[in-house]
Symmetry: C2
Amino acid sequence: MTAKDKLTTSQITDILSKEIEDMDYSENDKFATEREIMERFSISRMTARQALNFLVAKGILYRIKGRGAFVNKRIIQRSHTIYSFTELMKERGMAAGSKLIEFKKVIPPEIARLNLAMSEGEFCYLIKRIRLADGEPYAYEIIYTPVSLVPNLDEYDLEKDSFYRILQQEYHKEFSYDKKTISAVKTDGEVSQALYNNDHAIALKILDILYDVNHNALEYAESWYHAEKYSYLSISVKK
Amino acid sequence: MTAKDKLTTSQITDILSKEIEDMDYSENDKFATEREIMERFSISRMTARQALNFLVAKGILYRIKGRGAFVNKRIIQRSHTIYSFTELMKERGMAAGSKLIEFKKVIPPEIARLNLAMSEGEFCYLIKRIRLADGEPYAYEIIYTPVSLVPNLDEYDLEKDSFYRILQQEYHKEFSYDKKTISAVKTDGEVSQALYNNDHAIALKILDILYDVNHNALEYAESWYHAEKYSYLSISVKK
DNA sequence: AACTTATAAATGTATATACAATAAATGCAA
DNA sequence: TTGCATTTATTGTATATACATTTATAAGTT
């Protein structure tokens, strides 16, 4: 192996994190030592350390002085990702689907406009869907997203496609963090009919604002989840 | 300054993070450069980098190549902490209190026993409280915690004191992560009476399991929060 | 004025080295 | 066998150095 064949640290972290997934290490399994990584990739120890540090920062590993590096619990790894409805359903072993109720350009309500940091008179896409799990109503959602951010969004099929996938892969938006406000509410009207086929039931309401790496809000969304079918899982990791 | 006077990296990170709080930098304010930190504390650049990296790992700073380090949004800093009810109320500018309903040693129900990884026949403390905000009922909570973990817990005043404070400061338990399952439920009986003074209302139910650094569960708690007064805020940061 | 180029400032990556601190394994003595 | 001391393996900390990459600014050039 010549010097030019050497991999970069980020390539090495990619290889290592894939190995953790594929060879599926169990949680708390001992991981390779700094020395092993150093020799395997022909890099200095400090560089091997840096590769390990990336995996620690990502929440994949944790380290104990004098013992080594260990694979974190799945639940902690999970806390470092942002889930779409589609991914959530996949995780729970159900088929995600949508029934599109409304999809048009609108002037957003003020609460959405302010959270999306839009100027008055600017247009949003409004996406109103009933989210289905294995064909059954699971949630009722309304998404607002600025037209300027995702022009020609109407070319996509929001019944079959994932909005988060479109944002990331088609419009190259990189998610950074999201802010969810979760409350218990009574439902009525359209929401209640869609979820329960009757009036005056209850739901878990989630208000979501998703940001990219430059602190731009990508979406403002209100969702009502079926109270019997869904509960929200929140993992807080102390740093 | 002689060599022996030199501060350790962790002392330096403490100083820097306190300065961020006290001199309260606004979000996205430019922070000191590596070179400034290096000269100020008479350390090498790599060491200054490491100090900065700690602050990045803690979610306090973020860095942009070619520009410098910047102070993260409060909301992101907050996502790296675990809140007690007491701290939550403080954050919202309300006075936290409790009305103790029940406090005794019991054999825990199976769901609590399994989540606390306890053997059969082992005893738990049961703490049943109505949580008050500015004197008004805010939540109804039941906590189970193994007697073996916190012997003589009954010496403390759970009406005035914070259980999380006692865990950390009196029993030296170090929190690592917690797992919350959040759902919308109908209330009745004791819970409904305590929160709403009537039957058949709704509440935000939070099931909480708190772990220490060795993955030992410290508490299993069920809480019912007043649906009109409380909503749960969840920040997910992508790594 | 607009564009290009050079420079400086800042973080990022990589290496080499030395020693400290912790944890587990080993060996030895009572 | 138990207890203690030693060794070994491993991560943690700190320094010095060199060059790469990105960003913003300044200086020319047209």
